[in-house]
């Protein structure tokens, strides 16, 4: 009897960690989101969270905790793989994206992947505009030029590549390629930018540039970033989620979570005791 009471107490407290974190003005709301690769075994289990507009929210956790899986659900990437099942609701601006046309969702939620993946057959110029080309939207030449310049300037690549816009994107260095991929996602003016460990394949200098870039971009975009790197989350994010074994353990302002983690597992993870 006593046991159940303590358990209940803990769940109440668990909820409390969450409630302090729920930001006002959410652009994304995850409601009871569960995702499974094989039936009966959830890789992401019952995640509830609201994500605030024009902030950087970091998702942390050890390998295999479901953080990438959760991120990829937000632009419906899982549909490529028929075995994956998603339940719950993901609301973007109060519309359930799981019920929308995936093409529309993906244009609202841009994605940057772990490894830079510019289109190898396209020039730098074409790569930035790839979203338009692939959606069959044709822009007047002047508008295209402006868009390419703005997007490349936004990611700090313009000065480096303005004389070689017609070269293939794959000639750039890894860090430049990743910034090109960010520019490509930004060109479509998405509501949310989803980033799946965008700096894990890059060297520290390139990583630093991207982090600076993200801090600038959050003035205009909402960024949700999966990261392995705790110090990265501490440096750039406003809010942090800690996931473990598919559950969202703690979600709070980054500063609160790093100075005063409420769950023991978060504390252990942040202290490097596992992960």
């Amino acid at each position: 009897m006593e046991n159940t009471i303590t358990l209940k107490k803990q769940t109440v407290e668990n909820k409390k960690y969450m409630s302090t974190a729920i930001p006002e003005d959410p652009i994304l709301q995850l409601k009871k989101v569960s995702i499974s690769y094989t039936a009966g075994k959830n890789a992401v289990n019952n995640v509830n969270a609201d994500i605030r507009k024009k902030c950087i929210t970091a998702i942390m956790g050890p390998s295999g905790c479901g953080k990438s899986t959760l991120l990829r659900a937000i632009n419906r990437m899982h549909e490529l793989y028929p075995d994956i099942r998603i339940s719950g609701e993901i609301l973007m601006n109060n519309r359930n994206i799981l019920k929308m046309n995936p093409m529309e969702v993906r244009r609202m939620a841009g994605m940057v992947f772990q490894r830079p993946n510019p289109f190898p057959t396209m020039s730098i110029y074409e790569n930035v505009l790839a979203g338009y080309k692939l959606n069959g939207i044709s822009l007047p030449k002047k508008e295209k030029d402006e868009l390419v310049e703005t997007c490349l300037t936004n990611v700090g690549l313009w000065n480096e590549v303005k004389d070689s816009l017609l070269k293939k994107g794959t000639f750039l260095s890894g860090g430049q390629q990743q910034r090109l991929c960010i520019a490509r996602a930004l060109a479509l003016k998405p509501e949310v930018l989803l980033m799946d460990e965008p700096t894990s394949a890059l060297d520290p200098i390139a990583t630093n540039r991207i982090e600076e870039l993200l801090l600038q971009l959050k003035n205009e975009f909402t960024i949700l970033i999966v990261t392995h790197n705790m110090s990265q989350a501490a440096r750039i994010s406003d809010y942090s989620m800690f996931m473990y074994l598919g559950e969202l353990i703690e979600y709070d302002k980054t500063q609160n979570m790093f100075t005063n983690p409420k769950d023991k597992r978060t504390e252990e993870y942040l202290n490097g005791q596992f992960g």
């Binding site: 093409m103 993946n117 057959t121």
Partner: protein, 290 residues
């Protein structure tokens, strides 16, 4: 315990094995070099401008030329144009079909249908070309009532199809999955991702596969005997019998006066196929998937 054999002995065994491998690999090359040498030696004399612009000579002309010790007049223009005509039509039929089939196999690798298709392409690829000729004969020649370039083209396209399907499938499978995801993540439709991202990225592999398929069917003789039959004049009408370079070689072989032409035609065919293969290799290297 067995004593270890001495180091010198083991070293000797190693060297012996190595040299055996070398000798046998040289042995496999010798017949190839001899063939090329023979074809070049006997064939180069006949190759001149006339060889490309004139049709095959008659037995009488060839005999007169031979008796007076001159080169045989005439050339293989009817064969070259016929081969060109049939290979182009066969490519037009086989390339789009083969690429679409290859896309299906790489996109849906595990459905029962794709397993069936893969099995059937292996079957067609392994079947003797004369059988394919017989099938084209009964499908096209019999109903149309005449041997024709069209029937020949269809026989050749059936032979090209499995090669193109499989090379497309293999090339597309080599593309990193992140490329497709990158395309879809921009909100593009599936069709556009395939047509504008995946196919252009796979261009090198697709092109190589197509060239190799063409060079494979260019030298086919058996299926053409039953379908295109042959013609002594240049023919561009796809509904009429047409010649082809390998068919001419066969005709020259059957005519003792035209024996010399066998070698020059073979040399021409060999060089064309070699050229296609070299281009294919270059393209594959230049457009390698990153």
């Amino acid at each position: 315990m067995k004593p270890m054999s001495s180091l010198t002995y083991r070293h000797f065994k190693d060297r012996l094995f190595f040299w055996t491998v070398c000798i046998f690999s040289a042995l496999t090359a010798i017949p190839l070099i001899l063939i090329i040498w023979e074809v070049v030696k006997k064939g180069y004399k006949q190759i001149n401008l006339n060889f490309f612009t004139e049709t095959a000579p008659s037995t009488l002309d060839a005999m007169l030329a031979r008796n007076s010790g001159e080169l045989i007049p005439g050339g293989i223009a009817n064969g070259i144009t016929g081969t060109l005509l049939m290979v182009v039509i066969a490519s037009l039929l086989a390339i789009p079909t083969g690429i679409l089939g290859g896309i299906y196999l790489s996109e849906k690798p595990k459905t029962w249908f794709s397993i069936l298709i893969r099995f059937l392409t292996d079957l067609v690829q392994g079947s003797p070309s004369i059988v394919i000729g017989i099938i084209a004969y009964s499908w096209i020649v019999k109903p149309l009532g005449s041997y024709s370039a069209l029937a020949g083209s269809i026989a050749l396209s059936i032979m090209m199809l499995p090669l193109i399907i499989r090379s497309t499938e293999e090339t597309l499978k080599m593309l990193p999955g992140s490329l497709k995801e990158a395309g879809l993540a921009l909100g593009a439709s599936y069709t556009r991702v395939i047509l504008k991202v995946l196919l252009p990225s796979a261009f090198g592999g697709l092109f190589t596969g197509i060239l190799l398929a063409i060079s494979r069917v260019m030298g086919e003789t058996a299926p053409l005997m039953l379908t295109a039959l042959g013609s002594s004049a240049i023919n561009w009408d796809i509904l009429k019998p047409t010649s082809a370079v390998p068919l001419l070689i066969w005709e020259f072989y059957n005519d003792p006066n035209l024996i010399d032409m066998i070698w020059s035609s073979s040399l021409f065919l060999l060089l064309s196929i070699l050229l296609l293969n070299i281009i294919a290799k270059q393209v594959a290297r230049k457009w390698k998937i990153q």
